[in-house]
Amino acid sequence: MRSGPMSARERVRVLYGDSLTRHPALRPPPTRRVPLTSLLRFTPYIRPYRGRFLVMFLAALGGTGISIVIPLVTRQLIDGPIAAGDRQGVFALGAVALALGLVEGGLAFLRRWVMAIATLGSETGVRLDMYAKLQRLPWGFHARWESGQLLSRIMNDLSTMRRFIGFGLLMIVMNLLQIVVVTSLLLRLYWPMGLVVGVAAVPVVLVCLVNERVYTRLSRGIQDQTGDVASSVEEAMQSVRVIKAFGRAGLVYDQFDRRARVLYATSMERVSNTSKFWTFLEVIPGLALVAVLTIGALAAAQHHLTLGTLVAFITMMLSLIWPVAALGFLLSMTQDAMTAADRVTEIFDAPESIADGPLHLEQPQGEVVFDNVSYRFPDSEEDVLHGLNLHVRAGETIGIVGGTGSGKTVLTSLVARLVDVTQGRITIDDVDIRDLKVANLRGIVATAFEDPTLFSMSVRENLTLGRPDATEEEVADALETAQAGFVHELPWGLDTRIGEQGMSLSGGQRQRLALARAILVKPRVLVLDDTLSALDIHTEALVEEALKRVLVGVTGLVVAHRASTVMLADRVALLQNGTITHIGTHSELLATVPEYRDLLSASFDAESELDELEREVAQ
């Protein structure tokens, strides 16, 4: 972009462009934990900006110093030149006050200007490392975490930490400094009045500390209750048709209203809390002012005190209000930042259980063998799959049929190592898939899931998900094979945005796009989960046709719910209670296995069923 020092943008790229392929910059967890442990682990993200952080600190220090000095200049002015009638002196000291004021403003500007790049740069660094980490974490991790929880970590928690590091921490230091310096100055100026101010500060500190706790509790309550109201709203707005179909608007409104009233009550509690607290914060200094003026006037009368000192005293006392009152707020900010850091490190410390193996298959044939495979969910005590054996020859298509809960979905996730088997092994061309480089394996195996995930991006970007470098011809071929030519009819063709934030597509269209996406990877092994969705007969035929073409020349594992899909398979495996009980051609199984017939023979003969029922009743 420009020569000379690196721009902020370049710096972010240089520092975090490779986040995905290296360990996060975060420090490893220490063996001994102290309260600030989690926060301290983030120092590597600050280091690149240490110069700026130093400038911030010095500017803040200078600013605080000047704000303490200005009242002293006032005092000097009143007691010296003004009292002595020294016009020259008034000019000189007035100019000094003016200059100090300008410098103070300048330092505030400098601090804030520098802070922007430093704190936001650090925050962005953590954000990028965290995104990379989450992309590496296995599906098992993501199944346990809602995306909303992750989102609040990568957005809200990171900005909480940023605010603490760029502002809260600095303020704690500066405020404490100001309190100590100003109080000792006040005591030195005239100790009885200094004492009054010191005494007045004690209740303020106590009330602030206590109140902060109450306030935080109420605010969290309001946050939660706002969330409750929001979930009522979301539920109602998403199911408004069902609510109307059943005429249940009243029921739904009552539930919403109950929650809205709870929120109202807590909000009112907070109103009453803050009204008292804010008033208190104004009244105490008001009373202190009365006391200082009384004592000051009496002291001045007895020549213990000059008028200049009295004016300086009042100004300095007023400047103490904020640093004292803010202590409670700053403490809770610190607390929040530590909690946020804990929540964020929790993600950084999650184990990346799916790791690369040493091998790389150059020319895979695509023979897939399940060898005594078991799978169990981490939080479960029962195997979902157990003792599963299946030999799929290279180029063969196997249909997998099973009832609800038989373990079909897990099976589809095993081959591409989205999850790892808990016992036994899966091999491709006699190599355990855990011995392969993960990227290599996922290049060999393509998986199209029951619910085709579309991202809010252009059609092209969605298609080339696994092959960002695919050529126009390859894309066109894949669309052709998958019968997904409809994308050319979209308003902007392949540039049309689809997904939640774009054009919505029908179930059949989504399925065909997902197929095209899988083909584009040119896999040797294709794992498909055929959906059980409402496609009309015409669309269903299109999808069947697409499937048929896609399966030519690759090893296929197809989870099938319909007889017509099963017809595409060379052989069918029947999955029951987590293991394969029968394997054979469709007609063999149909003829010999009653459970299979039960699952797939859709020819529902109402008359014969009724007859059967009647017979049962008769018996």
Binding site: G105, F246, W322
Partner: protein, 656 residues
């Protein structure tokens, strides 16, 4: 560092955090064509030239259609004002009291520096001369009174204004929620649930935010600026005028800041929304991401978005970095000038030390709220625009209004008549050109035809999700437009493939069909459709919380629940629109069996792609382009050898 700074920091956070929630506002969709032409706001970001190319991957989306918020400005303002007036009308007296309280409070606050001046100038000299302390005592007493007045009025004001604000907010929530529930399906179809949700969440939050933080501050800022100006002029008009002259700079600075932050605000929201979309979609689609080795490309895209977000935030921070110290410098300059010029005046005995001290105190009161005004700007602006959108929703007309004098229909028998019904979603493109259909009470009718033949439209007309463009839909001979919502919903229920499961237990979900149903009734309904098998296998059977395990209920199980719900509702007319599509073969068979008994004594309209479902009907209608092309019993139609017979034979062959 000062109090103002802390609150400014907070404000920065708010402007950044506005959109940091998973619910996405429609603002995300500005239509990327705009972006390519280069928005003014983004020119100053350090890499605006690369924006268009960087975002190519997002693809092009239709222009945002927010008819409600895009209407001309003046009308909107009037509309919001009317709404606000209506909401505040019950509080006229309270508002009057609030005005009195806030004025008193500000007078009391203004008194303090003035009394300090009195104390120094008139209280101390007699004492110095060894005279009486009467003046000082008087001043101190007045100060105590002022503090007392300030205390009482402030607490009173904060409480009362807080209560009025919260009550208005509650009322607004209620009105808007009720309105959304009331508005017709056509409205919801085009408005989308996402936007409805953000009306009731982020827009309400914007108003709550203003009530909590901004309102009180704004009122006080204006009052103290006015009050202080007057006091300064009264105390010493020469020095007062000098101080007020600095207001010119303040106004310039404020105007600059307002303009910059308004344009920046939108850019921040948009950049943050894009980061959120990319993040959430990566996480929800992580299976596809990993299965397709999408990680490097994602990382590259996220780097671009996160950096864009960073750069725009840097800009926001810098706006504050200029504005806040800017006000500070103006304030400090004013103080410096007061010291210098005031010092000379004191020297010339044309002013007293007390006045000088009062000036210093007043300047504090003058410049502190100045910063507040800028802080409230964003929250004020977003509350205003929220109010505009909300008033737009509230003035929306109901497309399917309830009759004012309904014809009572407590016990419908279930006879349906569609007389010359015409219907179009888009004017001029009729989905149903002119449909006549008469279904006697108790008949089961199946609708067959390709997508777009008008089957679902018929279902929606019968359940009065829409009213016909012309013609009439009648239940037991009464026009649906004359039937009250309660009577209609008791008589007619529709089950679709949209398997909505609500938060709560399984039992709650079934009971949605009949609030207050006993456990026996609920279980019986589940048994009818065969849902009892899977429910009883759940850890807490009927008391299982679906929100916690909802993800684990399969589509088929959810559909069975929905069926049980409809069975419990026990309507005279049951409409099934693709209601069995997610069931696997064994469950579907169980449902078929249930349907045969269930439908025997009620009117039913069934739409299904699977002909197995259709076969149980008494009568089949084949539709094409909104017209009935075949009508008869299944056996008749098979014998006739028309469309239905063709469909049937291709279905049989697909079963192999």
């Amino acid at each position: 560092m000062t109090a103002e700074e802390a609150s400014v920091e907070e404000d920065e956070r708010d402007s950044l955090a506005q959109d940091e929630s998973p619910s996405l506002e429609e603002d995300v969709e500005p239509g990327d064509r705009d972006e390519e032409s280069g928005d003014q706001d983004r020119q100053s970001v350090d890499h605006s030239d690369e924006t268009a190319r960087d975002l190519e991957w997002r693809g092009v989306a239709a222009e945002q259609r927010d008819a409600l918020s895009e209407r001309a400005g003046i009308k909107l303002a009037a509309r919001s004002r009317a709404l606000l007036g209506d909401l505040l009308r019950p509080y006229r007296i309270s508002i009057g009291l609030l005005v009195v309280a806030v004025v008193l409070e500000n007078l009391a606050r203004l008194a303090a520096p003035y009394l300090v001046q009195r104390g120094i100038d008139f209280g101390v000299p007699p004492l110095l001369a060894g005279g009486s302390a009467a003046t000082l005592v008087e001043v101190v007493a007045l100060m105590v009174v002022a503090v007392g007045v300030q205390t009482v009025t402030r607490v009173y004001f904060l409480r009362l204004s807080g209560r009025v604000g919260q009550e208005v907010l509650l009322e607004l929530r209620r009105r808007v929620f009720r309105k959304f529930l009331r508005l017709d399906v056509a409205f919801h179809d085009s408005y989308t649930s996402g936007r409805a949700v953000s009306r009731l969440t982020s827009d309400m939050d914007a108003i709550a935010e203003l009530l909590q933080g901004g309102f009180d501050g704004l009122v006080n800022a204006v009052l103290s600026i006015v009050g202080v100006s007057v006091m300064l002029l009264v105390l010493d008009w020469r020095l007062g005028l000098m101080c007020l002259a600095t207001m010119g700079f303040v106004v310039l600075l404020l105007r600059w800041f307002r303009r910059e932050s308004a344009t920046n605000y939108r850019a921040v929201r948009e950049a943050s929304a894009m980061v959120i979309v990319q993040f959430v979609e990566t996480m929800t689609g992580i299976k596809a991401v990993q299965a397709y080795r999408r990680e490097p490309r994602n990382q590259e895209l996220f780097l671009g978005l996160a950096d864009r977000f960073r750069a725009i935030n840097v800009r926001t921070f810098r706006l504050f970095a200029v504005f806040q110290p800017g006000i500070r410098i103006i304030g400090n300059t004013a103080t410096g000038v007061v010291l210098l010029v005031g010092g000379l005046f004191v020297l010339d005995h044309s002013m007293t030390v007390g006045v000088l001290a009062a000036f210093l105190l007043y300047l504090r009161q003058f410049f502190e709220p100045m910063q507040d005004i800028s802080q409230f700007y964003n929250s004020f602006q977003s509350a205003i625009s929220a109010l505009e959108k909300l008033s737009g929703v509230l003035e929306q007309e109901d497309g399917v209004p309830e009759p004012s004098e309904p014809v009572p229909l407590p016990q419908a028998s279930g006879a349906l008549d569609l007389d010359e019904v015409q219907f179009s979603y888009v004017p001029g493109v009729p989905v149903l050109p002119s449909l006549d259909l008469h279904v006697p009470a108790g008949q089961t009718v199946a609708l067959v035809g390709t997508t777009g033949a008008g089957k679902t439209t018929i279902a929606k007309l019968i359940s009065r999700f829409y009213d016909p463009t012309s013609g009439m839909v009648r239940l037991d001979g009464v026009d649906l437009r004359e039937v009250s919502d309660d009577d209609l919903r008791r008589a007619v229920t529709m089950v679709t493939q949209e398997n909505v499961v609500f938060a709560g237990t399984i039992a709650d979900n079934i009971a949605f069909g009949k609030p207050g149903a006993s456990r026996e009734e609920i279980e019986a309904a589940a048994r009818v459709v065969g849902a009892n098998t899977f429910i009883e296998a759940l850890p807490d059977t009927y008391d299982t919380d679906v929100a916690k395990r909802g993800g684990r209920l399969s589509a088929g199980q959810r559909q069975l629940l929905v069926f049980a719900r409809a069975v419990l509702a026990d309507p005279r007319v049951l409409i099934l629109d693709e209601a069995t599509s997610s069931l696997d073969v064994p469950s579907e068979r169980a449902v078929q069996r249930a349907l045969q008994t269930l439908l025997s004594d009620r009117t039913a309209v069934i739409i299904a792609h699977r002909l197995s479902t259709v076969e149980i009907a008494d009568r089949i209608l084949v539709l094409e382009h909104g017209r009935i092309i075949e009508d008869g019993t299944p056996a008749e139609l098979l014998a006739r050898g028309g469309h239905y017979a063709d469909l049937h034979s291709s279905w049989i062959s697909s079963l192999a």
